[in-house]
C-alpha cells in the first residue's frame, strides 16, 4: 500500500513523500529522506551496561541516575517530536538539570542574533511565491537540504515568481559548493570574513560606498556593489543562511549583521532572512522550551527555575567545564559531533541514551533505551525550519516505545523516587 509520508530527516520536513509499506521504500524523497525510511540496524533491546533488560528496568535505572546527580545534562531533542520535548523540559525541571539541544552546535548563534535584532523572516511558502532574488549564504542545500531548491527556493514554481527563469539565485560561500554551481552569481568570501562583508554591503546600500575599501573579505568592491544593487532592486528577496555563518569566525555576530542588512533593505523593498535548520525538529527543540520555560537552549534549572547562559550551559561548555555528573542523550549523537574535550567528559560520567539507532554515543552509554522512529513508527508534531508545524505520521506498527512514552514513564519514575 502506498501512503503519504512526512519526512523526518532535515529541516525541510517535506510532506509530499510516498511510502510503499510492502516494498518498504519511499518515492519522491531525496537521498537523505529515502535513507531515513530504509531498513537499518536498530538497537535491539534496552540495555544496562551492555546487558539486555526490559524497558521498565532500563527506565528505573535511568531515573535513579538522574535523581542522584547533582547536575544532570539532558541533551539532544532535535530528532524527536514536540510532545517528547515538552516532557523533556518538565523532566529537566524536576531533576534540576540542564536542558540543551542540538542547536547549540548548529544554529544557536542564530538564536543569539535574534535576541540582539529579531528575525525578519517569512515562511518557505512566501519565499517560493514572491522571492525574485534568493541568496544562499554559507549554506549548501544541494547537499544538506536536497529538495529545498525545488520545493521552496531555487526552481520552485510560485504565485508571483513562476519559475527559475524569473528568479535570481546568488551563492555566497568560502568554496564553490554544489549549490554554487546552480547560481547566477557566486561570491567567494575569505573564510572568517562574512561579518565584514555584511558591514560593507550595509555601507554601500546606505550611501557610504566611498569609505568601503577596494576589497573586503576577499571580495572586490565592484562585486560588492553589484551584489548590493541586486539586493536593493529586488522586489522581494530572501537570504537563506547556514552553518557557514554560525560555525565560523563571527558566529552570532555574522547573523546579527545579516539581520541588520535585512532591516536596512526593508526600507527600500522587501527582504526576509531564514536559517537553514538541520534536523527535522531542531526548531521544535527550541520553540517548545521557549513556551514552557522562556528560553530556547542552554537552560539550567539547578536553582529550581530556568536560567539561560549559553557560555556555560550549552552542552559543549557544560561538558568541557566539568559541570555535570550525569547525562541523558536523546535523539542525537554528541560523541560523534562534539569536540573531543567534551566527549572525554561523556566517557567519565553515567550516560543514558534514548535513540532508535546504535551510534557512537551508544558506545559510551550505561543505559540504552531504544525508541520508535518518528514519521514511520510513531506520530507527533515537528516544526519545519520556518517554524511551520507539521504532523509527522505513524505508518507502520512497532514493538519499540516512542520517545513520548519512554519519557512519560521516566517522569513518573523520577517523581516516585523524589517522593
Amino acid at each position: 500500500m502506498e501512503v503519504n509520508v512526512v519526512c523526518t530527516f532535515c529541516g525541510s520536513v517535506c510532506d509530499d513523500g510516498i511510502f510503499d509499506t510492502e516494498k518498504f521504500k519511499t518515492k519522491r524523497l531525496c537521498k537523505l529522506g529515502s535513507s531515513k525510511f530504509s531498513k537499518k540496524e536498530r538497537i535491539k533491546s534496552p540495555m544496562i551496561d551492555g546487558k539486555e533488560v526490559s524497558y521498565e528496568e532500563a527506565i528505573a535505572k535511568a531515573a535513579e541516575i538522574l535523581v542522584n546527580a547533582k547536575r544532570p545534562l539532558l541533551y539532544g531533542w532535535a530528532s524527536t517530536v514536540n510532545e517528547a520535548i515538552r516532557l523533556g523540559i518538565i523532566l529537566t525541571e524536576k531533576v534540576r538539570g540542564v536542558y540543551d539541544q542540538c542547536a547549540s552546535v548548529c544554529h544557536a548563534p542564530s538564536i543569539l542574533a535574534v535576541i540582539e535584532e529579531g528575525l525578519p523572516a517569512g515562511t518557505l511558502g512566501s519565499i517560493k511565491n514572491r522571492a525574485d532574488v534568493v541568496v544562499f549564504w554559507g549554506c549548501n542545500p544541494m547537499e544538506a537540504h536536497p529538495r529545498h531548491g525545488m520545493r521552496y527556493s531555487i526552481s520552485a514554481k510560485g504565485l508571483l515568481v513562476k519559475d527559475r527563469k524569473e528568479r535570481k539565485v546568488i551563492v555566497v560561500d568560502v568554496r564553490e559548493t554544489r549549490t554554487a554551481r546552480q547560481a547566477d552569481l557566486f561570491v567567494q568570501v575569505k573564510p572568517g570574513y562574512d561579518y565584514l562583508v555584511f558591514s560593507a554591503l550595509r555601507a554601500i546600500i546606505s550611501g557610504n560606498a566611498d569609505v568601503v575599501p577596494d576589497e573586503v573579505g576577499g571580495v572586490s568592491k565592484d562585486k560588492l556593489i553589484e551584489l548590493a544593487d541586486i539586493m536593493k532592486n529586488a522586489k522581494y528577496g530572501a537570504i537563506l543562511y547556514g552553518l557557514g555563518l554560525t560555525q565560523s569566525r563571527g558566529r552570532d555576530r555574522n547573523v546579527e549583521n545579516a539581520i541588520k542588512l535585512i532591516q536596512l533593505l526593508n526600507r527600500y523593498t522587501r527582504w526576509v532572512i531564514l536559517p537553514m535548520r538541520g534536523h527535522y525538529n531542531v526548531t521544535g527543540a527550541g520553540e517548545v522550551p521557549a513556551w514552557e520555560c522562556g528560553y530556547q537552549y542552554a537552560i539550567d534549572f539547578s536553582r529550581g527555575y530556568p536560567r539561560f547562559y549559553p557560555n556555560e550551559f550549552s552542552a559543549v561548555e557544560v561538558l568541557k567545564r566539568g559541570d555535570c555528573d550525569a547525562a541523558l542523550i536523546i535523539a542525537s549523537d554528541p560523541v560523534a559531533h562534539f569536540p573531543k574535550e567534551a566527549v572525554k567528559k561523556l566517557k567519565e560520567i553515567p550516560v543514558i541514551q534514548i535513540d532508535p539507532f546504535p551510534n557512537m554515543t551508544t558506545l559510551v552509554a550505561n543505559v540504552v533505551i531504544p525508541s520508535a522512529i518518528y514519521g514511520l513508527e510513531a506520530e507527533g508534531t515537528a516544526y519545519r525550519m520556518d517554524v511551520i508545524p507539521i504532523r509527522v505520521k505513524k505508518i507502520i506498527d512497532t514493538e519499540y516505545w516512542s520517545d513520548e512514552k519512554i519519557l512519560e514513564e521516566l517522569l513518573k519514575k523520577v517523581e516516585e523516587l523524589m517522593g
Binding site: 548563534p109 568554496r175 573564510p191 552553518l243 554560525t246 558566529r251 559543549v316 562534539f338 573531543k340 546504535p358
Partner: protein, 118 residues
Amino acid sequence: MLITGRTLDQGATVEEKLTEEYFKAVSYVELSEEDFNALNLQEGDRVKVKTDFGEVVVFAKKSNLPKGLAFIPMGPYANQVIDPATDGTGMPQYKGVKAVIEKTDENVKSVKELLEAI
C-alpha cells in the same frame, strides 16, 4: 585553513554510524588540486591533519576547493582537530581552523578506535 560541513553521504549514513558506509563518508579530507599535487598524493593516500587542538589521520581527496582550504565532513574525524572554544556562545568553531596537512603511512582509525583514544 580547515572547514567542516555536511555532505549528502554523511547525511545518508548518519543513522548508521557504526557501519563501513559512515566510516567512508566522514574519514577523508578534501584538498585543492594544487595542494593535493604539492603533497605528491594519489587518491586513497592518507594524510595527517594537525591543528593546535589535535591531530587525525584521514584519507585524502582531490576537489575544486580554492588553494589553502581543506574540508572534512562533519563527524568524529573532524572533531579531533577543530577548535573547541565557544568564545562565550556555546558553539565551538567548527569552521576555520589553521591546520598543517602532511602525507603519512599511519592507518586511519576506525570510529571505535577513535573513541577509545580520547
